[in-house]
Subunit: 273 residues, 2 copies
């Protein structure tokens, strides 16, 4: 393994770009290979078997790019696949869930934490399991919010319909008097202001994308894998983007949320890996 090798980051689609963005900000020397499974998204409504199979194919693709570490930038894939694939790999792999869970456990004052996510992430029970391992007396209330991703993808980030749906989803969490809410899906930080207004100032919102980049940085330093060279410019080859469908649409979206223009996204047949 080479310190100058890239980091592999994958997601079911575009949401994981929020994790890639944090890695770019916090570790500007690192190279990144990003894969978004746009031909098979979303993962949140699919079974563990299927999400595990898809994750293994993507990891085999990333290994052909000689990545030094992998970040599963998708809560559902982290929930369903991380524990299995980390036993199969000889490079470090982390998901977004552990970092988010740890921050929530450290942040809560009253021991009551809420978690929102896709049906897959929520029904896996993984956030509750991980947080209870860290602190057994924690009280966790979970709520699947399947309409948030389509609302975000429709661009209704500041809209009365999103307010109404969010009020319904979050009412059970407000009723439990949580003081910390984990945004357990990479799309949710994009409606953070709506979620924050409904939950109120006294509730801390935890964004696992941000926390995952911090955890990755510490992990690379611990394993002596952090890039030591000079910071390169943000050119095309430093950050490479691959998808399984709709490369041009991905390029446009990625350019809109990343600090540098994305010049090219390559489409691959991921099911062949």
């Amino acid at each position: 393994m080479d310190r100058n090798s890239p980091i592999g980051v994958f997601d079911s689609g575009i949401g994981g770009l929020t994790v890639a963005r944090e890695i770019m900000r916090q570790m500007p020397k690192e190279r990144i290979i990003y894969f978004g499974d746009t031909a098979r998204l979303p993962y949140g409504s699919k079974s563990q078997d299927t999400v595990l199979r898809y994750s293994r194919q993507i990891i085999r693709f990333l290994m052909t790019k000689e990545v030094k570490a992998i970040v599963i930038a998708c809560n559902t894939a982290s929930a369903y696949a991380l524990e299995t694939v980390e036993r199969e790999l000889d490079i470090p792999i982390i998901g977004v869930i552990r970092a988010g869970a740890r921050t929530a456990v450290h942040s809560t004052r009253n021991g009551k934490i809420g978690v929102i996510g896709t049906e897959g992430t929520i029904s896996s029970g993984i956030y509750t399991d991980v947080m209870r391992q860290m602190r057994p007396d924690i009280e966790v209330t979970v709520k699947a919010c399947p309409l948030f991703v389509p609302l975000v993808e429709e661009g209704l980030l500041h809209d009365t319909v999103t307010d109404e749906i969010a009020s319904r989803y979050l009412s059970v969490l407000k009723g439990r008097f949580i003081d910390t809410l984990v945004l357990g899906c990479t799309h949710y930080p994009l409606i953070r202001s709506t979620l924050g207004r409904i939950m109120g100032d006294e509730v801390t919102l935890v964004n696992p994308a941000y926390e995952t980049a911090i955890e990755l940085k510490a992990l690379l330093e611990e394993k002596d894998l952090a890039c030591q060279g000079a910071e390169e410019d943000g050119g095309n080859e430093k950050y490479q983007f691959y998808v399984s469908d709709l490369a041009e649409k991905f390029t446009a979206f990625a350019t809109s949320i990343l600090p540098n223009e994305v010049k090219e996204t390559r489409k691959i047949h991921v099911e062949g890996y």
Copy 2:
């Protein structure tokens, strides 16, 4: 080809069951092999290349079941794949679009037709093309409604949020004074009452699922392929269901909308075909 062979019906997931249901009602002697691509749904937001590749895999699977005809019970796959795959097959294959388009053209009195569907179906322009071939002076207004499928799948069939979203989507169609609206996605008949209330009594709603079953019946009779035997009971082997993921969830949903209980759904690896 054998008259007693089954009919193959496929969709990206559950929506095509509305087409299967119409075939069961209108042709009670026929056997059906249904496939729902639940591991890769939805198709509506994916590219033509990808939807064509998925459709070919599914057709190869259905051919192993010795089907005598195939119905593409998905508007997006009909839009993107039908024209290509019908040249590759030596059995009859029909999609939901032509039957829906024909009924709309016959139904309109003022020549102004609206079409709603997924982003894939709408951006393909296929409804407009097909209707203009039938009647060149027709005026077609189209509108993609990407939130309708998630709203239906969340169960908000009669809900103020669905009313609000539908009002926004349909306002452009009302402004064009259409008198006929094609429900160009198999989920949409499930919110037919909402759509009808917003459009008003003077607008005819066309459900391509219903029209497709009529077209299939005529086609089988024309080709001397209609089942001649006695009507069997609705037992398990008469109707067989296959999916690429979440077989149990599919069984529960299918039982809720089909006339007979679905006892079993089998999961297959469709990408291997």
